[in-house]
């Protein structure tokens, strides 16, 4: 038996946590817009948001590599600003993960905002609440279930990604070597015991998280109506 590898586990959790935080900040306004706009461009935006659901991770990873690499538009800017390359770095992984998990945050939030609807927001406005106030005190609490779904799904999806990470981040210990990459490497080198330890750990973790979310949802509805 070999010692448990903490590196890839810690890196995966850190990546998932940072990704989820960035996603919530970016996806909330977009989900809000998609839920309430009457604009015709809504359909196009919805299709773009859903793209990562259907694209092979290698296709997404390839374009991200082109875009984020030192010769790419974003990558060049990043090098000018930070003196580091975005590809094969933790920051690059965050960018890739955010894009890869985007629909898993936007879609539950959009559905939640749509089910909250305009009615409570209109009521809040007539009670003197400015739009941000109404969002924070009325829409967000009413959409709490959507937020829980979004956080859990995005976190789990980020933990489970492989192809995009491999293409954009490679396999650099403590920088880009997350659990899924470590498992792949162990299998390639026929270290099945180490592979098992990580794989089973991820399996158990994912199952427990999903189980507790579903159980919590069933036993304690977040909003009684």
């Amino acid at each position: 038996m070999t010692a448990f590898e903490l590196g890839p586990v810690a890196l995966s959790l850190k990546l998932a946590a940072v990704t989820v935080i960035v996603l919530l900040v970016l996806a909330t306004p977009l989900a809000w817009w998609l839920a309430f706009t009457r604009s015709r461009s809504r359909t196009i935006v919805e299709a773009i948001v859903a793209l990562p659901l259907v694209l092979p991770p290698t296709v997404l990873g390839f374009y991200l590599l082109v875009l984020l690499g030192p010769a790419g538009a974003i990558g060049r800017l990043w090098v000018q600003l930070t003196d580091h390359t975005l590809t094969f770095s933790f920051a690059g992984l965050v960018v890739a993960s955010v894009i890869y998990s985007f629909p898993f945050t936007v879609q539950p939030l959009q559905a939640a905002f749509e089910s909250v609807g305009r009615a409570p927001l209109e009521a809040a406005a007539t009670l003197g609440a400015a739009p941000l106030d109404a969002f924070l005190r009325v829409a967000s609490p009413l959409a709490l279930r959507g937020y829980v779904s979004a956080v859990v799904l995005s976190f789990a999806h980020t933990l489970g990604e492989f192809g995009v990470v491999l293409m954009v981040g490679g396999n650099i210990p403590d920088r880009t070597k997350v659990i899924s990459i470590a498992v792949y490497e162990h299998v390639e080198t026929l270290e099945y015991a180490q592979a098992h330890m990580l794989a089973a750990g991820l399996l158990a973790f994912s199952f427990v998280v999903l189980l507790s979310v579903y159980a919590l949802n069933r036993r304690m509805p977040l909003v009684k109506t």
Binding site: A119, E122, A123, A125, T126, L127, G128, A130, L142, T225
Partner: protein, 360 residues
């Protein structure tokens, strides 16, 4: 007295709202008309929940014109929605506090106190409950209190009783009736129910197909003989302003001028005003005081006007000690009795008609 000046228009598929009107607001003003006439749309335009073209000012404050737009949360209005729209994640108390806190930030000097609103709408027992556990009537009482706690300069109410049964309506109507006096706020009250107009309002605006078809005091609007053609199924009837003299055994004695009516009525404190809306077809005419008749309510009246009506009928406008009443009889009967303007007659009102039109 507040003044609302409107010059707005709004296009929707198959519907146009076009209102140009200056309305004094004091006490309760009814905005009524048949379904689909644009009442709720107009109320939403006033609240800033709907964007129409044109200009709206209230007491000299510009709410909107071509270049300015005051959003709903800065208009200082209270709005009671048809469906209450209480926040389900907050208790009744927190729903009320939500409104009170924001009113205190906006105008700390003149806020309506939480306990005053709780007392006026009898909510003390409900404060810890969640909206989901309240009955429809309780929800509307909370919604009214919550709107009041914004300390509005104008309270807009959109059919607040339409989802309630008659029993619940009877409980809430007297509470609504008291609001303008207790809290000094004018109310604009949307309804399609003519009896609610008669019971609550002092002034009325009739909206038909997106336009104002009639306006004035409730008495003036209701005695308009041409109203039916505007409102389709909505039958016009005159309003008798009656005051309760005494009430015993489920029967109330009401005074109309110097004359008396006996009407079945449950809750009728002496001195209270109980406007009666009486359909023209429920009023018969006699030229002598009738004897041996089951109808108990006979008023002496003077014929003010005789108008032709559809299918062999005539409409009479009657004066009863300064109050107005309408009667619809056949042209034959009119000719046989030899009725003419200025003549003194007896108006016979079926008690059943009174009972069925009363909400109080």
């Amino acid at each position: 007295m507040s003044t609302l000046e409107l010059d707005v228009s709004l296009e929707r598929p198959g519907f146009t709202l076009a209102v140009r009107h200056t309305q004094p607001l004091e006490g309760i003003t009814a905005l009524f008309g048949p379904s689909g006439s644009g009442k709720t749309t107009l109320l939403r335009v006033l609240a800033g929940l709907e964007r129409a073209r044109g200009r709206v000012t209230f007491d000299g404050n510009l709410w909107q014109d071509d270049r300015h737009w005051v959003p709903a949360h800065r208009r200082g209005i209270g709005y009671v929605f048809q469906d209450g729209r209480l926040f389900p994640h907050l208790t009744v108390r927190d729903n009320l506090v939500f409104a009170a806190q924001r009113a205190a930030q906006r105008a700390p000097a003149r806020t309506i106190r939480l306990d005053a609103a709780v007392a006026a709408l009898d909510l003390a027992a409900l404060l810890a409950r969640r909206p989901g556990s309240l009955s429809g009537g309780e929800q509307q009482r909370v919604a009214i209190a919550r709107a009041l706690l914004t300390t509005p300069r104008l309270l807009l109410m959109d059919e607040p009783l339409s989802s309630l049964d008659v029993g619940r309506k009877r409980e809430i109507l007297p509470l609504i009736e008291e609001l303008p006096r207790t809290f000094g706020v004018p109310v604009l009250y949307v309804t399609h129910n003519v009896d609610e107009v008669a019971r609550l309002a002092s002034r009325a605006l009739l909206l038909a197909a997106g336009r104002i078809a009639a306006h004035g005091t409730v008495t003036e609007v209701f005695e308009r003989l041409d109203l039916e053609s505007y409102t389709g199924g909505l039958e016009a009837g005159a309003v008798l302003r009656a005051r309760v003299v005494e009430q015993r055994d489920g029967l109330a004695t009401l005074a109309v001028g110097a004359q008396r009516l006996r009407v079945p009525m449950g809750d009728a404190p002496p001195g209270a005003l109980r406007p009666l809306r009486i359909h023209a077809r429920d009023v018969a005419i006699a030229t002598e005081r009738p004897r041996q008749l089951s109808i108990r309510n006979v008023l002496t009246a003077t014929i003010l006007r005789i108008d032709g009506a559809a299918s062999g009928n005539v409409d009479l406008l009657l004066d009863v000690d300064g109050e107005h009443l309408r009667s619809r009889i056949t042209r034959d009967a009119c000719d046989e009795l030899g009725l003419e303007t200025g003549q003194n007659v007896f108006a016979l009102i079926k008690s059943v008609a009174l009972e069925s039109t009363l909400l109080g």
